[in-house]
Amino acid sequence: MVLTSIINLSYLLGALAFVVGLRRLSSPDTARRGNLLAALGMSIAIIASMIYPFSNADNNYIWIGGGLIAGTLIGLVAARRVQMTDMPQMVSIFNGLGGACAVVLAMIELVQFYGGVAKSTQELVVIVLALLIGAVAFTGSILAYLKLDGKVSDSQVTLPSHSLINNLLLIITLGLSIYLCVTGGSLFIALLLMAIALIYGFSFVAPIGGADMPVVISLLNSFTGLSAAAAGLIYNNNIMLIGGILVGASGTILTVLMCQAMNRSLFNVLIGGFGGNAATSKAQLGEQVAREVVPNDAAIQLFYSQSVMIVPGYGLAVAQAQKITKELDDLLETNGVSVQYAIHPVAGRMPGHMNVLLAEADVPYPKLLDLDDANDALPNTDVVIVVGANDVVNPAALDDPGSPVYGMPVLNVWEAKNVIVLKRSMNPGYAGIENQLFFHPRTKMLFGDAKASIQKLVSEVKGLR
């Protein structure tokens, strides 16, 4: 009795640690401690569930211990090895595994049910919920990983009239679920349901691409939370319920915030509207010539300017150019040039992606301007360097209603006195949309790998001193 009370109290403490930890994660000064606190809460919860007294239980500690050790080792090695640039992919995979965990649990419960263990309709509903949501989160996250990693392109997995197929899959999944919960179904039905839910997860993410990927990861994150909460209902466990719902709710609100940053509705994102009608705005472009600049001229321009604004994008991450960018920054600062960074909310593949990368390169926090501050500062900026960003600096968002990015808040870099765009080639960006900025009278292009180009700028600037 005493032990049970202590354990229930531990669960309460664990849940509190989740709440306070998440709260602290929301401020830069306390974030790290918040994360550790949440991890502590999780440890308490795991230990409590290990010693909770069950009557007549076999316990099987060896199996649990083996699983815990294996999972810890794999998780630590993966977390240690991953490059900062590949962070979104890593989070996506971890998220998928959490979903897979819920799927396995639900399937075990169903196998036991068909093996003769009685379960009420209410319990079946909860099990099926955990199965469905977990399955969608699992395969959806895996596809999101493959897409982010460039292993799969949007067109490879999108079928004609894809949304019709998705709706059909959804209807079949829901129909089968209701049938299973009402009649009890059979093991075959359960396996079929799992298979279709897994396919649906894949198919659900398939048409979504381009700049919408962060939104999807966030949404799938909240799905995993919900599946954990459903599993919490299976085992009547409060900390699973609270942890799962917290993640479900926070993931949902984060998803909505990201949609707002792009001025798009979640519905619009989910049917894969992005890049859908790119053809209409491409047509009007015709033959335009972008002006090139050589590193030497660009370096002189930078050296003799008062203020420089760097706009990082995914290209910076791919080229691993964050450290050399910081070097250019330091070099210019020592010569009296003020250098700042304009961070678009959805630059990169995840909100805050650029902040993490620049923090890795020791760029001081106050130098990073958010969208509104950057747009206020841009008209007074001498030179803007766009490093591998594209869609977030596309003027079509303001003046071309035919463009898929129309309505999305962007960085108005063309208001600055000069713009230098570092880019590999004239190919359109990740979302596949042409960008009028490259032909703007104030814009000059510096072609090449972002890291190599900045390296050249650094050595040219050094030569000027």
Binding site: R32, A70, G71, R80, L97, I108, T224, I253
Partner: protein, 102 residues
């Protein structure tokens, strides 16, 4: 109708818990600066690995000769633990960088 009312009365505690936790989750996140969105998403993702508790309870209550449940349950523990440990470790790595510059 009666069934719904009965369900409501029997699960009043769970329903309270759900509603308050949802509101709490919304409130916590709506005040987060964009800078911290990636670490936050990653940290929240680690917390969703709490599903591992279910796997532990399941294995503990299984018969010691029920190899299907033990094997599949252990798989679930491994998956959940990767999510938990990897998630917290990656989040810590990201946040470590934010700290360094001050």
């Amino acid at each position: 109708m009666e069934g719904i009312l009965e369900f409501f009365n029997n699960n009043l505690y769970i329903i309270y818990l759900l509603i308050f936790t949802i509101i709490l989750g919304f409130e916590i996140i709506s005040k987060v600066p964009t800078v911290l969105h990636t670490p936050l998403m990653s940290g929240a993702n680690a917390i969703s690995g709490v599903v591992i508790i279910g796997a532990i309870i399941l294995i503990r209550q299984a018969q010691s000769d029920d190899y299907f449940t033990l094997g599949a349950g252990t798989l679930a523990v491994v998956l959940g633990m990767i999510n938990v440990v990897g998630g917290f470790a990656v989040t810590d790595r990201m946040l470590e960088m934010f700290k360094k510059k001050k």
